[in-house]
């Protein structure tokens, strides 16, 4: 099914259709991840792939126009190259271990250690969380910094510009006031935000964590903006506060590392945080996940604010 949708995406000339198909594709992907036992990944993909990412593309479409020109090369040429590449890829898979094989090399390296020891060493039931926030905390710090940097990048490209009294997007939202959608969204949004907080703070025990919570929270806020307008939502969460929070999240993460450094341990060594090792790990994971969640949520909301402010391609001034 994924392939079918992907084919339609490749064929459609109308970019609006493309983006909506892409959203369906994201949802299908999320269901697939669910089937593959990757519940944490499914959460993230559902919020990002089906929600935020197509939405940002749609807003961009408003500035760049919705129809595109045809492809550049003859289909036969592309088909030929595709067939050769595809043949090579399929040939390569013949050497792969069978799908679901428990003895495959990937499952022999570090994974058994994570599965067997993390319960004792970290004391958190969700192995994904303990790998993400404890064993590979350096990686995760790097990734959070990348996200933050992307936020700064988008701001430097599209930020600035004049703060209008009324945003163009608001005028459109107000003109086509969808009463039913507004009421439904009012019922839906509090549970979404609540669920995000649950995912954030329950990530040690069930599926969840900072990344998932961040994107779900952002999706809730974005939904609200779509129905009530940028002006209204910015009275609650101002753009400045989002900018500050994005930086604060990264700082919070980094400071946990500094605290353990100051206590004479390695950077991001949570055993330094409390006398009882498990309490230390728990505390460390909770705080850095909070940092991750804050940064991810604020950067996503920031993306949306910045894009929405440029809605219609008018604000693109340097």
């Amino acid at each position: 099914m994924l392939i079918v949708v992907a084919c339609f995406i490749a064929r459609s000339k109308d970019l609006m259709v493309t983006v909506i198909l892409f959203s369906i594709y994201g949802l299908l992907c999320a269901s697939f991840f669910m089937l593959m036992d990757a519940v944490d990944v499914a959460f993230t993909e559902a919020a990002v792939g089906a929600g935020i990412s197509p939405l940002l593309m749609l807003i961009t479409l408003a500035s760049v126009g919705r129809f595109q020109q045809a492809g550049r090369y003859p289909v036969v040429l592309i088909g030929f190259i595709g067939a050769v590449l595809g043949g090579l890829l399929v040939w390569a898979t013949l050497g792969m271990p069978m799908f679901g094989d428990a003895l495959a090399p990937v499952h022999q390296h570090v994974a058994p250690r994570y599965i067997e020891e993390s319960g004792v060493e970290v004391g958190v039931p969700n192995i994904v969380t303990s790998v993400l926030a404890s064993y590979r905390a350096f990686d995760t710090l790097g990734e959070v910094v990348v996200i933050f940097t992307a936020g700064v990048g988008v701001l430097s490209l599209l930020g600035g510009g004049s703060y209008q009294k009324r945003f163009l997007i608001d005028r459109i939202i107000d003109r086509e006031e969808h009463k039913i959608l507004r009421v439904v969204s009012k019922i839906l949004i509090p549970p979404i935000l609540l669920f995000a907080l649950y995912v954030q703070f329950h990530g040690d025990y069930g599926p969840g964590g900072g990344f998932q919570a961040g994107v779900i929270f952002a999706a809730g806020v974005v939904l609200y903006t779509l129905f009530f307008g940028l002006k209204v939502v910015q009275q609650v969460i101002s753009e400045m506060s989002v900018r500050v929070l994005a930086a604060l999240g990264v700082l919070l993460y980094g400071c946990v590392g500094l605290v353990s450094l100051l206590k004479g341990h390695n950077y991001l060594d949570y055993y330094a945080l409390a006398a009882n090792p498990k309490t230390g790990q728990h505390l460390g994971i909770l705080v850095i996940e909070l940092g991750v969640g804050i940064t991810v949520a604020s950067v996503m909301i920031l993306f949306f604010y910045t894009f929405a402010r440029n809605f219609g391609g008018r604000g693109a001034v340097s």
Binding site: L2, I3, A6, I9, A10, T18, V19, F22, Y25, C29, F33, M36, A38, V41, T44, E45, M57, T60, V64, G65, Q68, Q69, G71, R72, Y73, I78, G82, L85, G86, T93, L94, M98, F99, G100, A102, A104, H107, A111, Y114, P125, N126, V128, V131, D139, I147, A150, G153, L158, Y205, P207, G209, F211, G214, V215, M300, F303, T306, F307, N310, A316
Partner: protein, 116 residues
């Protein structure tokens, strides 16, 4: 397990990779290219998650009633990769908006033509 069912996931990944790559190379529209790139990206995600699956395993959340878990490491990598992916996509979209503002088009041929 037969060859077909044992490798089907990887073949699907190969197909998605090709579709994504095809869109990136073939289409001139920058937004379409980004969608293609995202498809390419998710194909890689699907590959990782497929590799991590263990038959008969369950989601990697420790519980006394299960002993077989899927590999948690790919999940961690992909989980963060998705969020990083949307961040970079947003950056790319921002670039596209700026390109539209200065060139008046997001078609590659138009942009190349103006640069000459």
């Amino acid at each position: 397990m037969s060859l077909m069912s044992g490798l089907f996931n990887y073949w699907a990944v190969a197909a998605l990779l090709l579709i994504g790559l095809g869109i990136v190379v073939w289409q001139g529209n920058l937004i379409k290219k980004l969608v293609g790139l995202s498809i390419f990206q998710t194909a890689v995600f699907i590959f990782y998650i497929s590799v991590g699956k263990v038959a008969g395993g369950t989601a990697p959340i420790l519980d006394d009633s299960y002993s077989q878990y899927s590999n948690p490491l790919p999940h961690v990598l992909i989980l963060t990769a998705i969020v990083v992916g949307i961040a970079t996509t947003a950056l790319a979209l921002a670039l596209v908006i700026r390109i539209k503002a200065s060139y008046g088009s997001v078609e590659e041929s138009d942009i190349n033509g103006q640069d000459k």
